[in-house]
Amino acid sequence: MSADSNTQVMDRSLPQEENGPVPVWLIILGFILVYVGLVYFDEYGGWFHEQVYAPYRSYEQVLTWQPMPAGDDLTPLGKLVYNKPTCVTCHQADGNGTPGQFPPLASSDWVNEAEPGRLIRIVLNGLTGPITVNGKSFNSTMVPWKDQLSDKDVAAVITYVRQNKAWGNKAGAVKPEQVAKIRAALKDRAQAFTPDELLKISPAE
């Protein structure tokens, strides 16, 4: 007898696994565990958003809990949106921008126009190309915000900038309806505006 066949005999004498059905209680337990896990995730996971911590369940809930004074004044919401951070990243908390790179919003001739049409277009679709603000020239790119900010957010942030007395701005407020109108008109446009193009548009439109 060779060594090989000897092993085979020993193998056969070992107890063998047999097929059997998975117990029903185990399946039910599995489902219960998955269910509890999903409920727990929904409660505390915040859907992986980096700015959502317990006890908040979603980004929208964090938004609704931002401290807001009552009333129709959009300025507090605008300040919140500005510092979210959105605009503050380039235009800075004091609205002075970055010299040579990003134009100022404080006492800016573009911001203080009588009608906000051009500003709304810039915020919605972004801006690219050389621009002259307060006699100084800038040439950089502003990203579009149409997908991130609602009509109310855009109206609020432009109102905050235009009515910011500390920055020397004293233009009129913007209503969400004005933004909605321009957003609808720009529905099919994806590319950013150039300053020359904006200057051809009447700001009241």
Partner: protein, 308 residues
């Protein structure tokens, strides 16, 4: 049978899922965090720790402070406070209205409140109730405000105004959120106990200011020296039973000064977008008990009142 590949695959799968869940996902989530801005003031947060405080972090680590002190404040929810900021000209009418809206208030207490506005009318209520109350109150020249207030066991102990978020540790390495609480949480200890001499005395002789404190004294962070030329301006005062013999004084070594600088730099209590709360405007701070509870020292045995 050869189970090698199967065991390898199972072990690989187990390690890969835990790596995915505990390393990769958190990294993708908060690995790119940048300084943020306070809301609504728009100031940069956090600012890096000053040089001495940065050295103090190493002292904190070397002495194992994080084994007994956590730096993470938990929050279980948000509630609303309603504040009356302006009672207008017809105060008796406002009082009548308040008696109807807030049945538990007495007329005398309301009159007292109206004398020094702003005053909280109703505290720790739900959002919809608070919004309805503000709407009912703020008619004509009467003005009311809705404040959002974080609540939780740690916050009611006075350990902070809001929960801890990842940004609080942005410039720290290693970050020491701690896992046990033999002592109180230190997330905002710099705002809670800003007195340098109190902190130094507490490190030298913890039981002087906190009766029954289980904290060990860290005497090797201090030096005992002969009191000469009228004494050092840095010498510890009010040491009670632990005072050195006459003619001697206790002065902090560089490590103690660094550690206290680090402790005072722990101020994780700014209102952020991801941890919002209403920041009381300056004049309201004294008048509003709702905020006073947050700022006031706690009654817990090991979190005493700062020397005022």
């Amino acid at each position: 049978m050869n189970y090698g590949p199967l065991i390898f695959l199972a072990a690989f799968f187990a390690l890969a899922t835990s790596w995915f869940g505990m390393v990769l996902t958190p990294h993708a989530q908060v690995g790119h965090l940048q300084p943020t801005n306070t809301v609504p003031d728009g100031l940069t947060y956090p600012v890096g720790r000053a040089g001495l405080a940065r050295q103090g972090l190493d002292v904190y680590r070397a002495n194992g402070c994080e084994y007994c002190h956590s730096q993470q404040v938990r929050q279980t929810g948000m509630v609303c406070d309603v504040l009356l900021t302006d009672a207008g000209t017809n105060q008796p009418a406002v009082i009548q209205k308040l008696l109807k809206l807030v049945p538990e208030a007495s007329e005398a207490s309301l009159k007292e409140k109206l004398a020094s506005l702003p005053q909280p009318i109703k505290e720790h209520i739900g959002r919809s109730e608070a919004e309805a109350l503000v709407k009912a109150l703020a008619v004509g020249d009467v003005k009311a405000e809705l404040w959002v207030v974080p609540v939780g066991p740690d916050i009611s102990r006075g350990w902070g105004r809001r929960r801890t978020v990842a940004e609080d540790f942005l410039y720290d390495y290693p970050y020491m959120p701690g896992s046990q609480r033999v002592g109180p949480d230190l997330a905002d200890v710099g705002a809670r106990l800003p007195d340098v001499s109190w902190q130094l005395r507490h490190l030298y002789a913890p039981t002087v200011d906190v009766k029954g404190s289980p904290m060990p004294p860290y005497r090797y962070l201090f030096a005992k020296q002969k009191s000469e030329h009228g004494g050092s301006p840095e010498a510890l005062t009010n040491l009670g039973d632990h005072a050195p013999p006459t003619g001697y004084e206790i002065v902090p070594r560089a490590e103690a000064k660094a550690l206290v600088a680090y402790l005072l730099s722990l101020r994780a209590n700014e209102a952020l977008f991801d941890a919002p709360f209403t920041v009381p405007s300056a004049p309201a701070t004294n008048a509003a008990p709702g905020t006073a509870t947050n700022a006031a020292p706690v009654t817990a045995t090991n979190a005493p009142a700062p020397a005022k």
